[in-house]
Structures are given as C-alpha cells and as structure tokens.
C-alpha cells in the first residue's frame, strides 16, 4: 500500500473514528426524577439558609406593619402554589419530552424497516 493510500485511509479512519466517537458520546438522560431531586434539594437548602418565614414574620410584626399581614399571607400562598405548579410542569414536560423522543425513534425505526423490506423485494424481483 503506497503512502498516499495510507494517508487517505488514515484520514478516512480518523473520520470514521470521529463519527463513532460522536455517536458513542451522545448525551444521555439522567434518571426520570433527577430534576425533582435537584429542586427538592435546593428548596431544602433555601429554607435552611434563608428562612423566608423569618423574613415574612419580621416584616409582618415590625412596628406599624400588622395591617400588611393578610397581604403577606396571600403572597406566601400564591408563591407556594406557583413553585408547586412550576415543579409539576417541569415533571410533566420532561415526561412528555421522553415520550416524544421515544415515539420519533419508533416511527423512524418502522419506516426504516419497511424501506429495507421494500429494497429486498425489489432486489429479489430483479434477480
């Protein structure tokens, strides 16, 4: 094998290797409850580091500010509901994304299989 052929083959092999590396190192998903775990851990840490109720209580029971107590209570309730809703939305969205990718994979797989069968039939009919 001459040097030109060797270099050409090496470039081809490198290209194949790079393509295979990109496939081998494709991103993968963590466990389905990963995001929920992160949010739970962050929420727990937030409570320990900055107790929001202390800040709310400090604002509520500050001199002359008792009249704001109902408003603060309403904001806390809305905030808690918002956080919970956001969390649920994330969980639902991730599940939908996984299902979507699975559906696209199956669709493509079936189309490819059908195509291969068509090709086989065509090949046999030509023989």
């Amino acid at each position: 094998m001459n040097e030109f052929q060797e270099q050409s083959d090496r470039r081809f092999t490198d290209q194949s290797l790079e393509e295979q590396l990109a496939l081998a190192l494709a991103r993968v998903e963590p466990s389905p409850d990963f995001a929920a775990g992160v949010l739970a851990r962050v929420a727990g840490m937030g409570a320990r580091r900055e107790p929001w109720w202390k800040r709310v209580a400090g604002a509520v029971f500050a001199p002359g500010s008792l009249r704001w107590a109902p408003a603060f209570a309403a904001i806390v309730l809305v905030a808690a509901g918002t956080v919970y809703h956001e969390h649920q939305r994330v969980v639902e969205g991730l599940r939908a994304k996984q299902q979507l990718l699975e559906a696209l994979r199956i669709t493509n797989a079936k189309l490819q299989e059908t195509g291969m069968r068509v090709a086989q039939v065509e090949t046999r009919s030509k023989e």
Partner: protein, 186 residues
C-alpha cells in the same frame, strides 16, 4: 346499549380526523411483555417542545419537526408468543384509512408474516399525516403522526439523542409512489 356507549367512549379519539383505536387493541397491553403507549396532543407537544434545547443541534431539529405537528400517537406491543392479537383488529384500523384523504404508499408482506404499511394523509400537495402499521407475529406497532411531517427529517435524527442507527444499508422509496416514505441513508 350501555355497553356500546361505554365501548365508544373507551375508544380514544386519536386525531381530529376521527381515527379510532379499536378497543381490542388497547387491551393487548394485558398480554404484551412490553408496551409503548404514547399519546401527545397539541398541548403536550408544545410542552415537550419547551424542554427541547434550541442550542443543541439535534434537539433543535426535533423541535422544528414538532412545531408542525398536532399530535403523536404510538402503540407498540411485544409478545412472547405468536397469535396474541387478531388481524381482524388491525383490519378495523385499515378500514378507517380507506377514506379519500389517506393514501397507502407502501405495503409489504412477507411469508414470515411480517406486514408493513405506510399511509400518508394529503391535503393537496401538503402531507398532513403519517400512519404506520407494522404487524409481525410477536410485535404490533401502530404510529399516527398528525401534522406536517417529512419522513426524511426523522431520519436526520438517527444516531442522535439516543436514537440509534438502524442500519447502514441504502434504502429506496416505494416503487409505485411519487412520495418518499423513507430517506436514503448516508
């Protein structure tokens, strides 16, 4: 009468074009060793799309595909032995695809009992839907994609996002159709 009403209510409406999944097919999950059940309507597709990153080339492609869809519905059943489903149930589905809007562009049958069909729903020159029925002795897969879909765009996702290469052989489109049902692999 009550049972008939219940049966009608139990049959899920897959798309605005009223393709009903025969009730018997939904019960196959009880006999299947593996089941894939995906029902994503327009709102769920929109939600899923928000979690596809535009900064990732492959997810951006998927996002582009999904932006034109109204629904994605998949039922796939794997069995550990033959004869777990009746072809008459598949026939009930095929009967619904005989409407003028649907065109069967590929139909392949083998002596091993592996049957594959691909239907396209057209609106003039536009493709408005894709339907795949893949019936094998131990596996039945039904796919309905409602919306503007190009099968070659699906093939571009191959090898990425955990969607594995299926094969490296070149494939050609169905002989009697002027529409491509599959993309040639590189």
């Amino acid at each position: 009468m009550g049972l008939a009403v219940a049966a009608c209510l139990a049959a899920p409406l897959w798309a605005a074009e009223d393709i009903h999944m025969p009730v018997n097919l939904d019960k196959l999950a009880e006999r299947a060793t593996e089941t894939v059940d995906v029902t994503l309507d327009a709102s769920m597709l929109q939600l899923a799309s928000k979690f596809l990153s535009s900064q990732d080339a492959d997810e951006a492609k998927a996002k582009n595909i999904v932006s034109r869809l109204r629904g994605v519905f998949v039922r796939s059943f794997e069995f550990d032995k033959d004869g777990q489903y009746a072809m008459s149930d598949v026939e009930a589905l095929r009967a619904q695809l005989k409407s003028p809007q649907w065109t069967r562009i590929v139909g392949v049958r083998s002596v091993k009992g592996e049957n594959s069909e691909v239907y396209l729903q057209r609106n003039g020159d536009q493709i408005e839907g894709l339907f795949v029925i893949a019936a094998e002795p131990r596996e039945l897969t039904i796919v309905h994609i409602d919306g503007s879909i190009k099968p070659e765009e699906l093939a571009e996702l191959e090898g990425h996002m955990g969607i594995p290469h299926i094969g490296k052989n070149k494939t050609k489109g169905g002989g009697k159709s002027d529409d491509k049902a599959q993309k040639e692999e590189e």
